[in-house]
Amino acid sequence: MNMMTGVSPWERLIRPDRVHGSLYTDPEIFEAELKYIWYRTWVYVGHESEVPNANDYVVKSIGPQSVIMTRDEQGKVNLLLNRCSHRGNQVCSYERGNARSFTCPFHSWTFANDGRLVGYAFPDGYEGQDKSQLALGRVTRVESYRGFVFGSFAADGPTLKEHLGGAAETIDRLVRTSPEGEVEITAGFLKHRVKANWKFILENECDGYHPAFVHTSIFGVADSMIGKLYGGASTALTRDYGNGHTEIDLRPEFRKRDAPMSWFGTSEERLPDYATRMKAAYGDTAARGIMIDGTPHVMIFPNLFIAEIQMFVIQPLGVDDSVQHVTALQFKGAPDLNRRLRQQTMGSVGPAGFLLADDSEMYERCHRGVLARNPEWIFLGRGEKRERQDELGFTVGHVTDEVPSRGIWTHYRKLMEPA
């Protein structure tokens, strides 16, 4: 490798139209990513609807770390690290439940669900100790946006709103699909493990180039209109929101169809209860617009992917070991829509899904492929010369262009540069 002075290693690995294959396979780079991305920036952790009542908890993660998301007596959502402050034992061994406190099974230290140490066994040996210094570790900053809870281990840095930037609008667009303006995460998660680097998943989520090829088996046998959205003649767009957030914007295609609920392959007539509630909530014209536009296809860097009907959460465990947690989106006040969302989600994603099984096969084959070191680079130049700015100043390209990958790597380099 060229060791010219004054050139950062990241500048040597990341170029405008290509990235070096070692970025996906080098264990040292993975460790640096944990430090500079996963343990520093805003990471999606869970949804407020997963802990609806006081003292509810659910175990989540940030990278390989186990995080307990709790709702305390006061109704506040906390992100606590699942590690006893005494000897490091995990204080919570169930995936979800309702508990005022967590007692470590090793030496019986007990913590309130806001993280405070409330007692240890045989307290007579602890004279002069300050309990307040022995609380559970916490994710330093916790903020939520429309129910989506994010955490950051950095004490300082951009606010969540600043981090989301232009991509916040996609979440606004998502929650409008509910007549009550709220998403609910209540259907449980499928957890799909792959032997591949997490960035292959991250990039694939808004890669509009692959569906026509990778998903040809299901488009060929199912009565699906998804395939056409990703064809050469499609008017759909890819968009780079900055900060690593990327989108496939299918609205131009849905607006051409001008048919409410066509985005979900159905119609108002088949979901009469939903259509009625939407019109009552937003008025006829606005409701029609929402039902034509559909939900977003957006990847919030680094780990929250909203794919029209599903939500995915990417979890890196190792340089070649990742999990996708996936569930059906559920919209408050839309029971007939929700049932269809669950059925469709179960068909398409998870370890046996008609779509995701083939995507995961691609991540794994890419990962094994880049272990071959020649050519060294991964080419991401598709559509580079035809990029343009949209009316809000975000870079957009054709749905099959590699605008999202280039946006992701630009942001990645900015984050990793201090390493």
Binding site: G188, L190, V214, V326, P351, A352
Partner: protein, 165 residues
């Protein structure tokens, strides 16, 4: 149909049926496997436990009869890349039991254990499951009306499962 056949004869027919199903699955004989289903068949692989409500909670597979057909058609295209090339498979079926529970409609409740060795491009993977069936006599032959596959590790993150389990 216990009245028509002795318990031993029925058990032998059920065992033969389950072994045959296992062989068709291991050898990727998708169309022959699909013919084992009744017209109202349900193929269910729950996630996150044994007794979730598949109408409310995510399952790994929750196929009605038409979705079973779609699954088979996708496999038959030869372009379902996760099964192109196909996994090499062998499974053991054991602990076959007639369950006491008698479904209202005369179906036969049967359960077994299965241990599946899968060798795929990714790696070799061992799968273990509890299988619960409702079998039915249709035109003198046994058919599956319901098959529930409870993977032992269905609460964990699992690798792609794209063969017929």
């Amino acid at each position: 149909m216990l009245s028509r056949e002795s318990g031993a004869t029925l058990m032998s027919a059920i065992t033969a049926f389950l072994y045959r199903e296992a062989r068709l699955q291991d050898e990727h004989q998708y169309e022959a496997w699909e013919k084992l289903w009744t017209d109202d068949g349900v193929y269910w692989v729950p996630a996150n436990g044994v007794d979730i409500d598949p109408e409310r909670q995510m399952s790994i597979i929750y196929d009605n009869r038409s979705r079973i057909a779609l699954r088979v058609r996708q496999l038959m295209t030869g372009k379902h890349f996760t099964q192109t090339p196909q996994s090499n498979l062998r499974r053991l079926i054991s602990n076959i039991e007639l369950m006491d529970e008698q479904p209202d409609d005369g179906d036969i409740a049967v359960a077994s254990n299965s241990l599946i060795f899968e060798s795929s491009l990714r790696d070799d993977t061992l799968w273990a499951a509890r299988n619960e069936y409702r079998l039915r006599h249709v035109d003198g032959e046994l058919r599956m009306a319901h098959k529930k596959v409870i993977l032992v590790n269905n609460d964990k993150a699992i690798y792609t499962l794209s063969f017929l389990v």
